[in-house]
């Protein structure tokens, strides 16, 4: 049983923003984080606003140069979307590994990002893909890079009167993208370590740019710029794996908790980044 609260089922974005901005409303979409937190007493809400039926928040819109994913789309809808699968495989893989089918039929990227767990699968992939977070309130709209939006341990720059409207991702930035998740179960696992690796090659097949983001190894998902530097100018199948692994371990600060020790997290982070590079090498057509 959840603690008592009032519920407004918002039919429009304006109604939702009004209830959130002026009527102490807490937005809920799938409820797979919020309701669990309410039941556990780690959060309280007197007035819950259901935003799962609002058209502007549940669309996935493909344009020539990018794709907009509404914050309240069920993850299963994101998973089923061909534009996401084709242009953003790292995000597609991340979303496919969240929770279970039941969770994915309710949960949303907006919720995943707003809860801002350092182990959040969707958030890690969105960071590697440099998504733009689109925010909206009764006063207007604003945007910011997702790396700026997630500003600390479980902290975002969302203002009290705002909603995340959705995420915009640019197409055709990367030649290779992959996401990995290490967990204690095949499903319904909070990631022990997760990560996304994106690579772009220059004309002669060497690595021109890379984005490597790891989760669950620091207070927030972390972009490993020092590790990306190790890869610059290398052929993808000639990477110094020891150097890469050392750079990964030096860049992260995992903790030990009920899911894993910090030693294991450091170890497996290095292993998995190398494994992602091997996967890229297999796919690279020279």
């Amino acid at each position: 049983m959840f603690p008592k609260f009032e519920l407004t089922k918002a039919a429009t974005l304006q109604e939702a923003l009004r209830e959130i901005g002026e009527n102490n409303g807490t937005p809920v979409c799938g409820g797979t984080d919020l309701l669990v937190q309410l039941r556990g007493g780690v959060r309280s809400a007197a007035h819950v606003v259901d935003i799962s039926g609002i058209a502007e928040l549940t669309e996935i819109r493909e344009e020539d140069s990018g794709v907009f994913i509404g914050a309240a789309c069920p993850l299963s809808a994101v998973q089923a979307n061909s534009a996401v699968a084709e242009h953003f495989p790292a995000l597609w893989q991340a979303v496919s590994k969240v929770g279970s089918a039941q969770i994915r039929n309710a949960a949303s990227l907006g919720g995943n990002v707003q809860t801002a767990s350092p182990a959040a699968d969707g958030l890690v992939a969105l960071m590697a893909l440099d998504a733009t977070v689109c925010l909206v309130s009764s006063d207007g709209a604003r945007e910011m890079p997702i790396s700026q939006f997630n500003s600390g341990f479980k902290k975002t720059e969302l203002r009290g009167s705002e909603l995340i409207r959705g995420f915009y991702l640019k197409k055709s930035v990367w030649d290779f993208q992959e996401f990995f998740k290490i967990g204690r179960r095949n499903a319904l696992a909070i990631s022990v370590v997760n990560g996304a690796v994106c690579i772009r090659y220059c004309g002669d097949g060497r690595i021109e740019d890379a984005a490597i983001v790891l989760g669950a190894v620091s207070p927030a998902p972390i972009r490993l710029k020092a590790v990306e530097q190790v890869l610059m100018g290398c052929a993808v199948d000639c990477v110094d794996e020891q150097k890469l692994r050392d750079a990964v371990v030096d860049s992260i600060s995992p903790i030990s908790d009920i899911r894993a020790s910090k030693e294991y997290r450091s170890y497996i982070a290095g292993v998995m980044v190398n494994r992602m590079l091997r996967s890229a090498a297999k796919k690279e057509v020279v």
Binding site: T32, V48, A187, L188
Partner: protein
């Protein structure tokens, strides 16, 4: 507040508090005990029902957000009088249940999977049930029961 939705093919109207879960409404208000209460945090799948054909954890669905267009299917909605649904029959034949507690949710997850993909591979079957925990069977008989339903295995 009065909430209306379709339950196992019939319209229902229930007076609910905003903070009640669909699981609590099904069991305590509608007295349908087939849907089980396990973890109440979305991690075990015992409470699985179908909402508009999709399997969801009813412990995390707020009953008050349902509307007249929504279709809820519980385990009670599968059999037609005395005639078991093929998934139920296969589970019984293959010993895919022992204590039976995970079974309603498990069967509904199988139904949701097969309604979308009528011929899953073994790997896809395992993925399809990965949101439903079973402590008794070790899952092998459950996977076999699904293979019987899709015709991969001849039923004895």
């Amino acid at each position: 507040m009065l909430v209306s939705f379709n339950l196992n093919g019939n319209p229902v109207e229930v007076d609910v508090m905003p903070h009640w879960s669909l699981l609590d409404v099904l069991r305590d208000k509608l007295e349908l005990m087939g849907t089980k209460k396990g973890c109440e945090t979305g991690e075990c799948g015992a409470c699985t029902v179908l909402l508009n054909g999709d399997n969801v954890n009813s412990c995390l669905v707020l009953a008050s957000k349902l509307s007249a267009e929504d279709e809820v299917t519980t385990i009670e909605g599968l059999a037609k009088d005395a005639l078991l649904h093929p998934i139920q029959a296969a589970f019984a034949e293959r010993g895919a249940l022992q204590c039976g507690y995970c079974t309603p949710g498990m069967i509904l997850s199988v139904k949701a999977m097969l309604d979308k993909n009528p011929h899953p591979t073994r790997e896809q079957i395992k993925e399809g049930i990965s949101g439903n925990l079973c402590r008794c069977t070790g899952y092998e008989q459950i996977v076999e029961a699904v293979e019987v339903v899709i015709g991969e295995v001849k039923d004895q």
